[in-house]
Symmetry: C2
Subunit: 390 residues, 2 copies
């Protein structure tokens, strides 16, 4: 299917055989998460950015087992909502290891988070700052810079963050409100393949550190967000290269004495721990004269693969036959619902094994992030995606 | 918000006051469904297309109370999956009032549907036809023509259906397989505002009726699908106009002796029964010099408003103040999650009441279709959309 000249780029034959064995006689679709890979990713990130404090972005994969593994490793956690916060509290994670990373917060939720012990909040607007000052007095706040995410496969937008002029004002106001204007954050866009984007953002941080120092505000923290990549079809650099470059950008601007650095990895920690196993329901021709067949699988946009919107994320897809010289059949891949929008890849033509048939399994690799929790509750009657953890 | 010169186009002041009263002291977001409207829509459709058999497209809104109301009215049901089928069976609906409308079916699901009594199947490929012949011998099948849905606000794609040359072949094959090649179906695209699309599709049906008659196959049914509109911001004709035109197209091609006609309304029956009540979480400026504010509500793309993708469906949105001369504040509307893609309307600028503030309610009208069941299971920790039925 994938024109994988070398499928071992994505998975070893040994690992793949293990997954095939696990999948036997199991009803598809399901997501299989191997937590060992998450530990490995965590260790690697820690090794490459030893000075950074890791806050796992829970939204990427909120499975309890995933959280537990990262808890054991000593990770901190970035929560998007009080729902995620409550989930983590139930798992015994202390709130002083959490940040409330969503800049869009109801006042009652800030109050609740504060009552549970959260003292570190992201913010990007005067309104939110006022709410924090009322409900979470004395807390540390960090201000999110607006990045528009060019170069990212799952693009950012202008939804989050504010421009430097506004950030400057917010920091002054935070001090006045007896909050602690503690630092800055940015997010260069998920699956960001242009490492230079960190350079731009870090330069903006430097500028704001300096100009706020002139106003007697000493910032102490930079949250460099997420954006480190996972292995999809589009080629990326290794985490080590990212880490090395980001470190260089930081040193260039801040010299030997770096501020506290927080990183909020989501995708890069968990994506490659997941394999989504599905089955081909139907292969069909639309006409007697069209050569490109449609292949319908039992997983689609509404069952967990929403990141195929605009074909943004291109998962490596394997079938049982790994012999790439048999992969000559160009197909359009679509999901099982009656929704016309539920097509996975139509412009980009995956190449499948020429002998592929209905009932065969398809393995979507790198599906450990932003899949199961996106899955719809009952669309077309389909139940949410099942998850197995090994 | 909406530049509604006349909000009464969408809702009467009396109805709106009732909704405001209901919403008091209720935690947002939630969807409020008024089943009375569904009954009214059903009656109106029946009156305007008296010769058509109605098969409600369950996927549009699968709430039990919605199904029950339509059951009482005598509606038939188009089910997309065995999950929907099982839900209806539990509600006591006999399977001879259901069709299995999804052309993408697992063989085991066809077998199960047949064992439960389903004898009417949509199909569009040889593979599916073979499965039906093995698992549902002697059943009636109707063949779906491929329409690409130009003119529809929620566009179709080439995902479903086959071209006439293929349909012709499939009908011959069905007969050979001892199935009953019973009719044709098409779907012109959801919220289709170009009524002429039915004309094209019905002409194709006529052509296939005739050419198959020459091959000794007498088709008996046309399933004219869904596509009748609901009231969103984009102007549409009344159902009566649609019905009149479609009837005219049918008469032009088939004269006085119409084949059996099935219609599969989803959106047009249920959309205007729903009001999604949400709250403004935050209003913010990105810069000291940008005039267009961002308004963040507690409902977004992943909580049920997925049809805002590409701003395809533009819901009428009201605030408590209905005085349209106060609606001068252009805004960008976005949802509450940490996902950068979770923006509702950015290109199309809704106009809000100039005095709108955080904590105010926003009422998304015409949200009874394709909302709650699309809602994600736990994205960012948010629970699925709550539904109240009155």
């Amino acid at each position: 299917m994938v024109p994988l000249n070398n499928h071992s780029t994505f998975i070893s034959t040994k690992d793949f055989n293990k997954i095939k064995e696990f999948s036997k006689n199991k009803k598809t679709p399901f997501l299989l998460i191997e937590t060992k890979k998450i530990e490995k990713n965590y260790d690697e990130l820690k090794k490459n950015l030893p000075f950074a404090k890791i806050y796992y972005a829970v939204k990427a994969n909120p499975e309890n087992e995933v959280i537990k593994v990262l808890d054991k490793k000593g990770s901190n956690f970035d929560v998007a909502t009080i729902f995620e916060m409550n989930q983590l509290i139930k798992l015994g994670i202390p709130t002083d290891r959490m940040s409330f990373g969503n800049t869009i917060k109801k006042e009652e939720d800030i109050a609740y988070a504060y009552s549970q012990g959260i003292r570190l909040f992201a913010t990007d607007s005067e309104s939110d700052l006022n709410k924090i000052s009322r409900q979470a007095p004395g807390s540390k706040v960090f201000f999110r810079l607006l990045c528009d995410g060019s170069g990212a496969d799952w693009p950012l937008s202008r939804k989050f963050g504010a421009y430097p002029d506004m950030i400057f004002r917010l920091a002054l106001r935070a001090k006045k409100l007896n909050l602690i204007p503690y630092g800055l954050s940015f997010h260069v866009g998920s699956q960001q393949r242009d490492i230079g984007q960190w350079d731009n953002a870090i330069s903006q941080c430097k500028y704001l550190f300096d100009s706020l120092a002139d106003a007697d505000i000493e910032l102490k923290l930079i949250n460099i967000g997420g954006g480190f990549p996972s292995d999809y079809l589009q080629p990326t650099q290794d985490i080590a290269v990212y880490a090395k470059e980001v470190t260089r950008f930081l040193r260039e601007d801040f010299g030997d004495k770096l501020p506290e650095i927080i990183i909020e990895p989501g995708r890069s920690l968990v994506a490659d721990s997941g394999v989504l196993v599905s089955e081909i329901i139907m292969i069909s021709s639309k006409s007697t004269t069209i050569s490109c067949d449609w292949v319908y699988t039992d997983i689609g946009k509404f069952g967990g693969l929403i990141e195929t919107i605009d074909e943004a994320i291109k998962y490596p897809i394997l079938s049982d036959n790994l012999n790439t010289k048999d992969h000559t059949k160009e197909v359009i891949l679509a999901g099982p619902t009656c929704d016309s929008m539920d097509i996975l890849y139509e412009n980009y033509k995956y190449k499948l094994d020429k002998n592929i048939k209905e009932g065969d399994k398809l393995y979507f690799l790198t599906t450990g992030a932003y899949t199961a929790s996106y899955s719809s509750v009952y669309f077309n009657g389909f139940p949410p995606l099942k998850v197995y953890i090994i």
